[in-house]
């Protein structure tokens, strides 16, 4: 959230998932001052730090130390240009965290705040800078929350909280919320923090940029999308069994594919009482399957929505977007059989090749929505 009267964000958050190395890096930086100047400073710090850490050639603490020692000093205020927190965590729960200048992160386990040990690395070049390095071992259900000082200092000077929300106030808010909704998603919790911080500011006008980053360590939500009939028809039953045995949410995109599963697993299909919604064929229903849609047209539209970031659309593609975004690990089973009729030049619109759409969709899901994607051609 922006400081009031400013048209640019002074905090910068960036995170990236590395499926091959089974790890995630998140960086939050707060630039000095406000508006464009702060925006440039925080953006540079965060992206440089991310690049440093992902290179994997030097440990995260060393990368942070180099940044800390080289960040220039503001001519006016004689303090560092920007502050940062960076988290690197792998799928086993080994987390490394570095902090310089930002409020101390909060680690919550079983609704209690943990007190992790840390190593301080003072800066060799600047007296007032000190890096904190943590090594944690997360368990399922743990949460990590880090924020910019806009959160902890919200409400400062006015009204009830003379000293602002502070860390203690934030912890109370978090624990209360988690008691009320133990399964709250990271997205919702971070929105909650930011909104609460704004609400206690005088006149609800943020006097600093307000950002919060939440990490929730939990079992990934698995999802499977089966689209297109397999190239070798004799393997239909094998693939149908794979589909049936998959643990997680399931979707089918394709009329022929839906018929195949219906036939092999002996599960009848029922349709919506309508034909089309929003220029796409209506969804159908099958026991044990969370979503059944038409194939290529719906997939093409889904890709369009994902790229343009337009959720909550009431048609089959909108439902598929929600299905995908509510999952963490997505497997696509893509049948390679082509339907010749789709390439008839007489068709009024061009029908994309399934493989290509899925490839594009996988890229968007990985790069933009940080999903883990696995494609299996059949």
């Amino acid at each position: 959230m922006k400081k009031y009267n400013q048209n640019a964000y002074g905090d910068y958050f960036i995170s990236k998932r590395y499926p091959d190395e089974a790890k995630l890096i998140a960086v939050l930086s707060d630039g000095l001052g406000s508006g464009i100047k702060a925006n440039i400073l925080s953006c540079m710090t965060a992206t440089m730090l991310l690049k440093f850490i992902e290179g994997d050639q030097i440990p995260i603490s060393k990368a942070a130390e180099i940044i800390m020692n080289s960040l220039p000093v503001c001519q006016v205020r004689k303090i560092s240009y920007s502050t940062f927190s960076a988290i690197e965590v792998n799928d086993d729960g080994d987390a490394k965290i570095v902090e310089e200048g930002n409020p101390e992160f909060i680690w919550i386990r079983d609704n209690e705040v943990m007190k992790p040990e840390f190593k301080s690395i003072p800066s060799k070049t600047f007296k007032n800078r000190c890096l904190k390095v943590y090594k944690l071992n997360l368990r399922l259900g743990d949460r990590l929350i880090c924020c910019s000082d806009g959160v902890t200092q919200s409400g400062l000077g006015g009204g009830r909280l003379k000293l602002g929300l502070r860390r203690e106030g934030l912890i109370t808010l978090l624990l209360d919320k988690l008691k009320e909704r133990p399964d709250i998603s990271s997205t919702e919790l971070s929105h909650y923090i930011v909104n609460q911080a704004r609400n206690i500011e005088t006149d609800r006008l943020p006097k600093d940029d307000i950002s919060a980053c939440v990490l929730y360590f939990r079992e990934p939500r698995q999802a499977l999308v089966f689209t297109g009939p397999p190239y070798h028809q004799e393997k239909d039953s094998e693939y149908a069994k794979m589909f049936a045995n998959f643990k997680g949410k399931k979707a089918i995109a394709g009329g022929t594919t839906a018929n195949l599963i219906s036939r092999e697993l002996n599960r009848p299909i029922t349709m919506d009482t309508t034909i089309s919604i929003g220029k796409l064929p209506a969804c159908s229903y099958m026991e044990g399957v969370d979503l059944v849609t038409e194939g290529i047209l719906t997939l093409t539209k889904t890709l369009e929505y994902l790229e343009a970031n337009t959720p909550d659309i009431d048609n089959a593609a909108g439902k598929l977007v929600k299905f995908l975004l509510d999952s963490d690990c997505i497997t696509f089973m893509v049948g390679a059989k082509l339907n010749q009729a789709h390439y008839d030049p007489a068709l009024p619109i061009e029908i994309e090749i399934r493989k290509n759409i899925i490839k594009k969709m996988a890229n968007v899901l990985q790069d933009k929505y940080f999903k883990k994607v696995n494609i299996q051609y059949m």
């Binding site: 009329g255 919506d272 009482t273 089309s276 339907n339 789709h342 029908i351």
Partner: protein, 87 residues
């Protein structure tokens, strides 16, 4: 007592782009006209375009076991009338 006539509109990709999306009207007019003597529903795919693709006559609609090629609302209504007359 005569049996119900079943009308199945193919909603597969080919049929949909070739015009079954325009058959929405059937869902509204058929119950009004015939009451519960006729049942209209979409189906994910009748699988006809891939068999017959060189002479593709999508959209396809099935009225009981008869396939209607290049289906329009008029053609489907006519087929329903014929079925009901036979019953």
């Amino acid at each position: 007592m005569s049996e119900k006539v079943s009308v199945k509109v193919c909603l597969g990709t080919t049929c949909f782009v070739m015009g079954s999306s325009n058959l929405q009207e059937l869902i509204e007019t058929v119950p009004k006209k015939y009451g519960d003597k006729v049942e209209v529903a979409g189906v994910p795919c009748l699988g006809l375009c891939s068999i017959d693709w060189e002479f593709s006559k999508a959209p396809y609609v099935k009225v009981n076991d008869d396939v209607i090629k290049e289906a329009t609302v008029e053609k489907v209504l006519k087929a329903i009338d014929e079925k009901l007359a036979k019953n």
